[in-house]
């Protein structure tokens, strides 16, 4: 057995994670060529690198199949019920910043706040005969947010990509999505509600609270935490 560290398997998130560990004296890398999803770890013993899709890392942490994992706060909170009991946040890594926000068409000059959205949704439902649709892939987070702010008469429609386009396509009236600069929103004639920030997310190192650990794994974990200056 060894300590399993799950890291996103491609793109900027992977490279920046490698850099973050590298600057702390732990070299992560792919074992073979660019296309091989096996990893290698140098500079510390007893730690194994597992390359995974960022979206699957919360699930693997929750199941205890990996001990540590790097993924966005947004994904952990969306995918894990009672997430604080399942994983522990060890460190925010300072990249992969993104805000989960609620946005509506710029045309909606009468809607600036969640209160407005709630009132507009009531009228919309009476007029159109169905609940105002919000396109998102963050169902749990948005549902909880809407509930805590007392917004009613809406429904969530699933959108796994190109979410900003759903309003123009008339498959949704508003969107709830991740944004970093807001450019895509503006390009699609959408604006963020004044109080529509649901969550600020960034790449974070999580520890699974459920993964079984042998004696040597505990030692490796302790050493890793020391090396990363997290103690």
């Amino acid at each position: 057995m060894s300590l399993k560290l799950g890291v996103p398997s491609k793109g900027r998130l992977m490279e920046k994670t490698f850099d973050w560990f590298g600057s702390r004296g732990i070299t992560l890398g792919r074992a073979g060529g660019d296309r091989e999803y096996a990893g290698k770890v140098e500079g510390i013993d007893g730690v194994e690198l597992v390359l995974l899709s960022a979206g699957e890392i919360p699930r693997e942490l929750n199941a205890g199949r990996i001990h540590l994992g790097v993924t966005g706060t947004d994904l952990v909170r969306e995918k894990l019920g009672q997430w604080e009991q399942r994983v522990e946040e060890l460190a925010e890594l300072g990249f992969g910043h993104a805000d989960l926000i609620i946005a509506v068409p710029q045309l909606w000059v009468d809607v600036e706040t969640l209160d407005d959205l709630d009132e507009a949704a009531a009228v919309f439902r009476r007029r159109h005969g169905f609940r105002l649709r919000i396109a998102t892939k963050y169902h749990r987070l948005i549902r909880d947010f809407m509930k805590s702010h007392g917004v009613a008469d809406y429904q969530l429609v699933d959108s796994q990509g190109a979410t900003e386009g759903t309003v123009k396509n008339e498959t949704a009236e508003a969107v709830a999505d991740i944004t970093s600069t807001g450019e895509t929103l503006r390009a699609n004639h959408l604006k963020i509600l004044g109080d529509g920030l649901v969550l600020k997310s960034q790449a974070t190192l999580f520890r699974s609270r459920t993964a079984p650990m042998a004696e040597e794994d505990r030692a490796a974990m302790a050493q890793l935490i020391r090396r990363l200056d997290l103690d």
Binding site: P105, L107, V109, L132
Partner: protein, 373 residues
């Protein structure tokens, strides 16, 4: 700690006994499918339901939900062919997602009794309560049960009686079951919180659409203009008088034995006559309960009861809970849900709804409590 249910065969036998009791009271036994179309349920309860109910799907029928309760299928079945007066009973599993508390069951039996009869609503209310009480009576001495009643109809009547616009009344009525939001609206309509500055700025603009983007989406410019008009009208409204706000807040805090609550609310009705009829209904219901042998003198009444967890219950509401065990769900609960039948009726050509009152029992919890006692 995961939930460990009591012996299933005993729970099923208890459920059968309870249902037989309601059958003997003239109720027809009805069945409901386990898989229900998610569309009608979500339209009724909104997205929050997804946090409480299990959803599944296939390519042909689309989204289906594992029956979260019997109310909706029983009302739908009745609307499709039943005639009033009618009374129904049922027994079967319901399924509830539990993402907060592993100790709560996600699958359990419910036995229910429903009366659809508008001839004497207070008598029907009292009968449902009395039959639920009879069903849990054997437990009363063993574990200490506490019954609480409420009446959302009084609250609704109070909102109707406020000196304000229909639009504001409608907004308050809509958030009756969301107390935090209701209070926020009340504060705004009373002028206790300032008019939102972003809204003021918007209304002062000569052309509100000057910086609007292109027309996209189903909510068109006409719809936005009509809301702007509604906002202007709302800004011109005079605040609800402080005295009325105090009355409604006093009403929300009523929490005492039924006779004392009645006295208290009659006092409030002197200044808020809109609730008089509803308070008289409560009095008639109390008399009907007494005829069923309910000790009305000691019965608790809470004006806010049911506001957070019984959406669409718009009249009498009640629950039996185990004293000193706030961790347990109610062992029996129910009430009048005419508003729910109006919602469901809109799509079924019966927008006037049906007069409906009912209650449910949890035989699994009953057996569990008896074993522990």
């Amino acid at each position: 700690m995961a939930y460990s249910p009591p012996d299933r065969a005993r729970v099923k036998a208890r459920a059968a006994d309870l249902r037989a009791g309601f059958e003997a009271a003239g109720a027809a036994v009805v069945e409901a499918p386990v898989l229900l179309s998610a569309e009608a349920l979500l339209d009724l309860y909104g997205e929050d339901l997804r946090a409480r109910a299990y959803t599944t799907s296939d390519a042909l029928r689309g989204e289906q939900m594992l029956r979260p309760d019997f109310t909706v299928p029983v009302v739908q079945m009745h609307m499709a062919g039943g005639a009033e007066p009618a009374r129904y009973t049922y027994s079967g599993e319901v399924f509830r997602r539990q993402e907060e508390d592993e100790a709560r069951a996600n699958e359990y039996l419910q036995v229910g009794f429903e009366i659809f009869d508008g001839s004497d609503t207070e008598a029907a209310d009292a009968e449902v309560f009395a039959r639920m009480r009879d069903a849990v009576e054997p437990l009363r001495e063993k574990v200490g049960l506490r019954a609480t009643t409420g009446d959302i109809g009084i609250l609704r009547a109070a909102v109707e009686g406020l000196s304000t616009s229909d639009a504001r009344k409608r907004a308050l009525r809509r958030h009756l079951w969301r107390p935090a939001r209701f209070k926020q609206l009340l504060d705004r309509f009373a002028g206790r919180t300032p008019f939102p500055p972003s809204r003021l700025a918007l209304l002062e603009k000569s052309d509100p659409f000057a910086e609007a983007g292109p027309e996209i989406g189903l909510r068109d410019r006409a719809e936005i203009e009509s809301r702007l008009e509604a906002l202007r009208a709302d800004a011109a409204e005079t605040p609800i008088p402080a005295a009325e706000i105090e009355l409604i807040e006093g009403l929300l805090q009523v929490r005492e034995t039924l006779p004392n609550a009645l006295e208290h609310m009659r006092d409030i009705a002197v200044d808020l006559p809109a609730i008089s009829d509803a308070v008289e209904r409560l009095k008639r219901r109390a008399a009907a309960l007494a005829r069923h042998g309910v000790n009305v003198e000691a019965l608790e009444f809470e004006a806010s009861y049911g506001r957070t967890h019984m959406e669409y219950y718009d009249g009498f509401v009640f629950g039996f809970v185990v004293a000193g065990r706030p961790d347990l769900p109610a062992i029996a609960s129910g009430g009048r849900y005419d508003a729910l039948t109006r919602e469901l009726g809109r799509g079924a050509g019966k927008p006037e709804g049906i007069p409906a009152v009912g209650g449910i029992l949890r035989p699994g919890l009953m057996v569990e409590l008896e074993d522990a006692a």
